[in-house]
Symmetry: C2
Subunit: 142 residues, 2 copies
């Protein structure tokens, strides 16, 4: 499985826009203190979010395969970066909240376990890099 993308500079500062093989775009920028215009999230913010999204989509699939209804899935993710270059993430904490009228706490916990331990490519790579990943899960009723 090959994934390809091309990025280009999109303003006179730091904004970069990536285009994937089907032409959909993703923008990256940094705040003015970092020389950008703050028009989009920063690369390392997006890196963190891509892991949450990768894992979130696993969870959506698993919950729906159990014939449970998903009203919303909220994922709060927080990463701690090293002070020294290259400022890697040393720890990441994830809170998964499923809003569902019928899924149980057990359904949700199992879905998160399957994503974190077996399916999520991004978290697998992040963990292999040496970053500590912790997570909690919960259910809210709509």
């Amino acid at each position: 499985m090959t994934k390809k993308a091309t990025l280009n500079l999109d303003d006179g500062a730091m904004r970069l826009v990536g285009k994937n093989e089907t032409g959909t775009v993703t923008a990256f920028d940094v705040t003015s203190e970092n020389g950008g215009n703050g028009s989009a999230a920063s690369p390392m913010e997006v890196f963190l979010q891509s892991a949450a999204a990768c894992s979130g989509m696993d969870i959506l699939s698993i919950i729906r395969k159990k014939r449970k209804t998903v009203t919303d899935l909220r994922i709060e993710i927080e990463g701690e970066r090293a002070e020294e270059h290259p400022h890697i993430y040393t720890s990441i904490a994830v809170k998964y909240i499923l809003v569902s009228p019928d899924a149980t706490e057990g359904d949700m916990k199992r879905a998160c376990e399957l994503s974190q331990d077996q399916y999520c490519s991004a978290f697998a790579m992040i963990k292999r890099s040496g970053c500590a990943v912790s997570w909690t899960s919960g259910i809210e009723r709509p």
Copy 2:
């Protein structure tokens, strides 16, 4: 340094939208074959692009610190994923092309080296995960 984000489901399928601390949003989706609506790039496509953007912004900073003009920066990135779960990236190839009237091939090569070997957080984590990263650099005149 802490980075935080919250993601929510944004349609009845797989679209997730992340919001960073300053409120800028990043969308993730998958193609219809994967249960989505193809409204945005997939999490692992964005993961790859975030590394390219992280590194690209290092390069923009370094080239500009040398008082050279950046007309464009084009980054082509290609990742090969494992066939088996969790489908991690096993190798990534990056091609950095700087469009500049005055930067030299040497300026650009050095900027890419500094990013890849010292500054880029995303590629540092990707390499630590065991993924092989290769890159080339070039200059085009505007």
